[in-house]
Each structure stands twice: as C-alpha cells, then as structure tokens.
Amino acid sequence: MAITQDSAPPISDRERRQRVVIRFAGDSGDGMQLAGARFTDASAAFGNDLATLPNFPAEIRAPAGTLAGVSAFQIHIAGGDILTPGDAPDVLVAMNPAALKKNLDDVMPGGVIVINTDSFEERNLAKAGYETDPREDGTLDGYNVLAAPMDELTKEAVKDSGVQGREVLRSKNFFALGALAWMFDRPQETTLDWVAEKFAAKPEVLAANTAAFKAGYNYGITTEAFAHSTFEVPAADLPPGEYTNVVGNQTIAWGLIAGAQAAGIPLFYASYPITPASDVLHELARHKNFGIKTFQAEDEIAAVGLALGAAFVGHLGVTGTSGPGVALKSETISLALMAELPLIILNVQRGGPSTGLPTKTEQSDLMMSIHGRHGDAPLPVIAASSPGDAFDAAIEACRIAIKYMTPVILLSDGYIGTSSEPWLLPDSANLPSFPTSFATHIEGKEFMPYLRDPETLARPWAVPGTPGLEHRVGGLEKDQLTGDVSYDPINHEVMTLLREQKVAAVANDIPDIEVEDDADAELLVVGWGSTYSATRAGVNNTRLEGYKVAHIHLRHLHPFANNLGEVLARYPKVLVPELNRGQLSRLLRAEFLVPAISFSKVQGLPFKAAEIKDKIIETLEMP
C-alpha cells in the first residue's frame, strides 16, 4: 500500500516532540481498544519506543453513552527509552461526551482534543452529565480542539463497501485512527495490512474499515485544523536486536512454555476463567502442538487439583487465576506443599477484596501469597515486573518449583497482563535449561519418598509408571524418611522446620540485589512487581533535579535475596511504593526492623512517574 507522501506537508512542518502520550476514549462499543492496539503496532513499526495501558469497564456492555461505559486506551510513544504509559495525555481522542467528561481532567494543559462532533447531541450530553455543551460553554478553552463529524464522514466513506445499518458506524474507530495516523505520521500499511488479514473472510467489513481509515487520513491532510497539528516523534534509539510488542499475559504463557521445555517435561495448565487471567489460558490453548494440555475446569478448586494431579504424575502443573481464585485454591496449595510436589500458581492480581475492581490493577495479594494458608506453610513467591519480564519470571518460577519440589506463587497483575511494551526477543538458543531428574530406582532396601537432597532439601520426584517406587503422598504429616503417616510430635516439628528451611534455602540460589545507586543517596526506593516502570521513571526524574536516590526492585518476595537486609540498612530512608495498603513495607519492617515508609495507591491504576517523584522529594525533605 503506497503512502501518498506527495500530499503530506514536508516533515519539517511537523512539531518535533521527544515523547507524546495519546489516549483513545469512547463508548465500549466504539472500538477504542482496537484503535489503540492498531496505533501501537503502527508506532512499533515506525520505530518508537512505547508503553500502553488499556482501561476498560468491568461490564461487557455498560449502557451506551454513559460514563460507566467509557473505555480507554493510552499509549506513550517516544524517541527515547521510556518506561511508563505516561502520566497525562497530550492528545485525547473523545468519541462521545462521556469520554470527554471522564478523561478531560487528565489532559495536559494546552493539549490536543480530537472530538467526534456528531455524538455531541442533547441525549448524549445529558447521559454524560453535561448541562451545557462543553464545546460552547468554555470547558475546552485553552485546549487545541480538533472537531470532526466522524459519524457523517464515516457513513460517506463506507457507502460503497456493502456494510448496512448499524454496521456502518462500526468503522468510525478506523476513521479516528486514520486521522491520528496522519497527525503522527504513522505508516498506513501496518494498519491496512492488518485489516486485510483480519477481515479477509468479511469483504464488506474489510472494505468499510479500509475506506474509513483512508478517509480519516485524508481528512487530516485536507482539513486545516488537523493539518496544523502534526507531530514528529522520532524513532527510538533502542539496543539493536529483534523486537516485538507484547502484553504480559502472552509473555507469561510463553515463559511457562519455555520453562516446561527447559525442564524437559510436558506443560499442564488448568484454569477457570477469570479477569484478567483468562488470556493466559486462551494463549496456551492455542499451542497444543507443543503437547501442552490446557484444561478449563469446573472451578478454581478443581483447577488447582488438576494441576497437582498432573504434577504427581510428572508434568509441569500450573494453575492460573486472580485473587478470588487463589482464595479458593488455598487448601490444595497447602496439600502441594505438604506432599512436596512442584506446582505453579499464577495470580494475575486485580483490585480486591471480593469482586472488587476486576478489570483494574492492584498488588494487594502479596500478603495472601506469602501468608494466606492454614498451618505453617511457606512457599516461594516471585513477581514479574513488566510484560517483557513476565517471560523470565515464569521460567524462574518453573525452575524453583521443580528444583525444590515446592509450590511457587507467580505474581503478575492486570497492568502487566494487559499493557504492552516493546520486548527485545530472547535468543531461543540461549534460553535456560534445567532438565528434570525423576527418581528411577530404589537406593537401599526400600524407597524413601522423603529422603532429601542434602543441598536443596528437595525430596525425590517419583512418578507412576516407575516400578518399585510405588508410594503414597497426602495431607497427613509424614515420617521424615519413610513418608509413612506419622503423628509423632517431634517428627512434626522436624518436618515443619525442614519445609521452612527448604524454602529459605532458595535464597542461596537467587541473585543478590543490585542497587541502582547514587553515591551517598539518602533514600532507597524499594519496588516490586508492576510498579517497576513508574518507580524507575520517578527515580530518574528526581535525579535529573539533582536529588540523590537509590533504587532496587524485588523479583523474589519470598524468600528475599540474602543481601536485602544489608542493602536496606545502608540508607537512612526507605520508601516503598505499592498498589496496596503497604504490604511489602510491613514485610520489610517485620523482617529487617527498618523504618520503611509506605507509599500506597489503591485506585485500580498504576502509579504515575510524577507521583513517585513528588513522594521521593517529599520524603527526602521530611525531617
């Protein structure tokens, strides 16, 4: 598809910006997630660095035109290394009054607002809670408003495509996308090729979307207001290599595949649908040709049971869910711990408690992961810190589960799961390898299912099909050697301590914390999980203003890295930003007796870099 470069103004007319944040907002039926995803791909193809954040309502279809029904997608594109989807949008696309009302407060002063004027009629204004038309009452003073009658222009554009009735206006997101593609000089073919492939089976829809996209693009060229609001965001100077744009629910699934391959055993993934974890199930279900077995169970209790059953017979058993599902799985996780079988429990966290904010992000299941079981029941807890990192975190969870014969909780969250970033593809030839060694024969007179490896304290993994190794596992306390049921008081204490020591020993097998340090920093910022991007950016921005700050980010939440206590002790102030009410800060205080200061946010949204920066400065300036 050729781009009509001749009609575009010379590049130098475009306003050069190092970074721009764009938010697409509209009714959930307006296709804003799709528009955002397409803009993302085009930006990746263009060569920008980028980060995205979808924000959609919990209801599949909230009443049209209402504030509750607004769905948004934010993308940050830049010419340099960026970490977050951006704090405040420079450009807002508002497809209806509700989208404007809900998002206007976030827009940068002087920002660009693209609106679909056709939707600004009385009923929609009323549904959004506007008493007067914001286009006329001064609400939009100080913004650069680009208004287009998108309904009318879309209808006109698609009239020969063959789509009928309500289908016609479905293409208006492509109109908006076309206009934005013009404004930001995005390659048209990335989007048009995608449309051609996606709608190959529906020629009318293909034609309509193509026509609407081109109409939007041409509208940008020919309409004066748009023509003077064009930007050039240069391609980023990323480390060389092959990149792809990924969301965390994909990478974590791929990491599990890589983990199973590293271990040389089949992957068995059992799950019950739940937002925002379902996409991991969907992704793995597509890859049966790896020998992967995916199982949609009747509930979360069944799912963890299935995964544990698969683990007992030598598969890599994984169960994925979100907070409410982990609550249901808790009893079986304790059984896995008691039976000392490898098992991975993936928790893509969301806002809680209860159904809470199912489509929004939070980190409030950390305490549950570490302590949320009956009995003294320690297990390793690992957290992914970004969509790309989720791949490595998943592999690490597999490694530890198998090596130490233990259930492992792998934490992600809605933000990591659904947001995207460019990811430097790993070299498949150099992925980790940790072949599983099953017990194959009896050492000595009879099989001792609880005879431990002296170094890891792991018991042997003896699977059905191995003659002579028949044995029983179960929830009742076991004799420390024979594995027979034992009610002996001393044995129970020995076993409780052994289970604890085994998990504690994982600390010797993980890297020490490396500090991103400023010499003589007064303050250490401690992050974990998805706050990585905002804390990193917040710390960097604070340093640019001359403050001295150190930063660490934890992958291993239990056990902690061996040097963590010593690192914490080096700094007079320790600040712990978290999307919960201070769970990690409490763990650090309890474990290391440091006066960690909690910085908590529980709005279902990630931190903004500016919030972190302000808090760092405030904390530094505290007496």
Partner: protein
C-alpha cells in the same frame, strides 16, 4: 501379557486402622483381590482419595496413591488421567466427601467421561468426624448434629450419577465380595469414568444401615440383581420389575407372569430406564437394585485430549517457541 500378582502384592506395610468390623476392610480385600487378577502393572495404578474414613484407602494399597483434600479427589484424579491416559486411576470417596463437599467435582468428572473409576463408599454417615448425618442419610435421622432429626432430603447417588450422564453406573454391597469384584472388573473394562456406589456398613456410627439387604432372612426379598440380558427377577423368581410409562415398579410374577418383567439392558444409550430402576429404592429399605445400571460407550475425555494434540501437531508441526515469540509483528533495530 498378564502379570502374576497375589493379593499380598497390593497390601502396603501400613497397619490398617479402621474400626474392627468396619465394612471398609471387606472392600479393601475385594479391591486387592481384583487388582491381583486384573493384571494391570502395579506401577501404573494410582489411588486418589479425599478425606474421611474411606479416604484412608490409598495408604493401604501398595500402588501409587494420594490422600488429598476433602471432596477434591475426582478433580485431582482427572488431572492424573488427563496427563497420563495410560495409568489406571481410581478414586475412593465417602458419601460426605463425594456428595457434599465434593459434589461439584463428582458430577463434572462423570459428565466429562474422564478415564477414572470412582468408588463411593456409602455408609450414610460422616464416619471420620464421628457420626453426623450425611447427604445420603435418611430424612429425620437423629445424630449429634440433628438431635431432633435431620431435615435434609437425601441424594440417591445412582440417580445423581445418571443425571450427570455418567457412562457407567453400578451399585454393590461391601459384604458381597464376588459381586463387588464383578463390578470393579466391569468398571475397569469400561472406557471413561465409572461410578460404583458401594453400600458400606459403619458399625460404629450407623450400624445395620443395610441390614435389609444383608440379613439372611430378608436379603432375598430385598436384593434385586440387575444382570445384563436377563429378566429382572428376585425373591427366588417370585417377584420381578416391570416398566410402564417410564416408571419401574415391582410385580408379583405368580400373578402376572414373566412376560411383563423387564429384561435388563445397561447398554441402552437413553438413561431413562436406568434412572427409573434407580428410583425403585431411595435408600436401602425394601427391594433395592444392585448391579450395573448403565454401561454405554462415549469417547473418553483423556483420549480426545490426546487426539487434539495429535491433530494440532499434524496441522502445525511440532511446537516451535521461536516462532511463537514472533506471534505479533516484529521489527529490527540495527
């Protein structure tokens, strides 16, 4: 090749700790005798149980085993069978375990037709927790938790399994080893999930619950044996079971003749007749059918799962991680 095993080969070195006289002992013996004859390599046998007196069973079997979580054995066993279809997977469960806390897993395991064999030791009481009424206890039962009589209407486990469209449903009695072994053998030969309700006497908390079926003086008039291809006759041929308008009822053969008596066929796909037979007795009071109610063919879940993997591999070739990582658009930075 059949492997020569004896019962001893399936006895673990653990001391059996059920109360003396408990029906569980007899069932254990039947299962071990069956296993010795069945010729399944011992290392391929897995027993999974939940929690309860019955659920101690795996500890006493010299096979692979897991004593798991209350009610969840069918789910765990499903994971085992789905992961490794070549294994012989058995679930041992109690009436509380399978029908109360684990009712959901039971019906889903049955409808899926996973290759697991579920043995429900029904003593109509919670044994391990010392005698509360269970989901199969008769209404009005007085126990420590129901001093004025239980208000619960009980389940009929066979009706429930048939309602879940189980492909194999049978009932037997702990005391009758021959019949128990016959049922175990048929369940083993069946493709997919099999459900056997075993009436099991808990002599401590619910003694003589099945006395009408077991006592010398009453058993003939109360045991209705369902035998494939044969007329459903009992009480020395004096009585039989007839079907009319989808309902089963007992007829006096001397009065109406054998022609009206139903000929049993468990292989009929429509479960209606099997269900009607299951309604003859609600709890073992009075004439109660024993034997195989339903035994029909349907593809087993685990086999279908393997087939999908084979189909996907044939269509797409073996999995290649490098290409999966490139699912989305890629670009190169030099």
């Amino acid at each position: 090749m059949t492997i020569a095993y004896t019962r001893q080969d399936f006895q673990s070195d653990q001391e059996v700790r059920w109360c003396p006289g408990c029906g569980d002992y007899t069932i254990l013996a039947s299962v071990q005798l069956f296993m010795a004859d069945a010729g399944i390599p011992k290392e391929n046998v897995v027993f999974v149980s939940g929690i309860g007196c019955a659920a101690r069973f795996p500890y006493y079997m010299e096979t692979f085993g897991m004593h798991s979580v209350h009610g969840r054995a069918p789910a765990i066993a499903t994971g085992i069978a789905a992961a490794r279809p070549e294994l012989s997977v058995w679930v041992v469960s109690g009436d509380g375990d399978a029908l109360s806390i684990g009712g959901n897993h039971l019906i889903h395991a049955l409808r899926r037709n996973v290759n697991i064999k579920i043995l429900l030791f029904n003593n109509q009481i919670y044994g391990l927790t010392k005698g509360q009424y269970s989901p199969t206890s008769e209404a009005g039962k007085r126990t420590k938790s129901s001093p004025m009589g239980s208000l619960d209407h009980p389940f009929n486990p066979v009706s429930l399994a048939l309602g879940a469209e189980a492909t194999f449903v049978a009932r037997t009695l702990d005391m009758d080893r021959t019949h128990t072994i016959e049922m175990l053998t048929a369940a083993h030969q069946h493709q997919g999930s099999a459900f056997i309700e075993i009436y099991q006497n808990c002599n401590v908390f619910n003694d003589k619950a099945f006395i009408e079926l077991t006592a010398k003086e009453s058993r003939d008039e109360n045991q209705i044996r369902l035998v494939q291809g044969e007329k459903v006759l009992f009480d020395g041929g004096k009585k039989g079971v007839a079907l009319e308008e989808g309902r089963a009822f007992i007829v006096d053969v001397e009065q109406y003749g054998e022609d009206v008596v139903h000929t049993h066929d468990a292989t009929v796909d429509d479960p209606a007749t099997a269900f009607a037979l299951s309604r003859l007795a609600h709890g073992p009071h009075g004439p109660t059918p024993l034997g195989i109610f339903r035994n029909v063919e349907r593809p087993a879940y685990d086999d279908d799962m393997e087939r999908q993997i084979a189909d996907a591999t044939e269509a797409k070739g073996p999995g290649d991680l490098a290409s999966v990582l490139r699912t989305n658009a890629t670009w190169t930075v030099d």
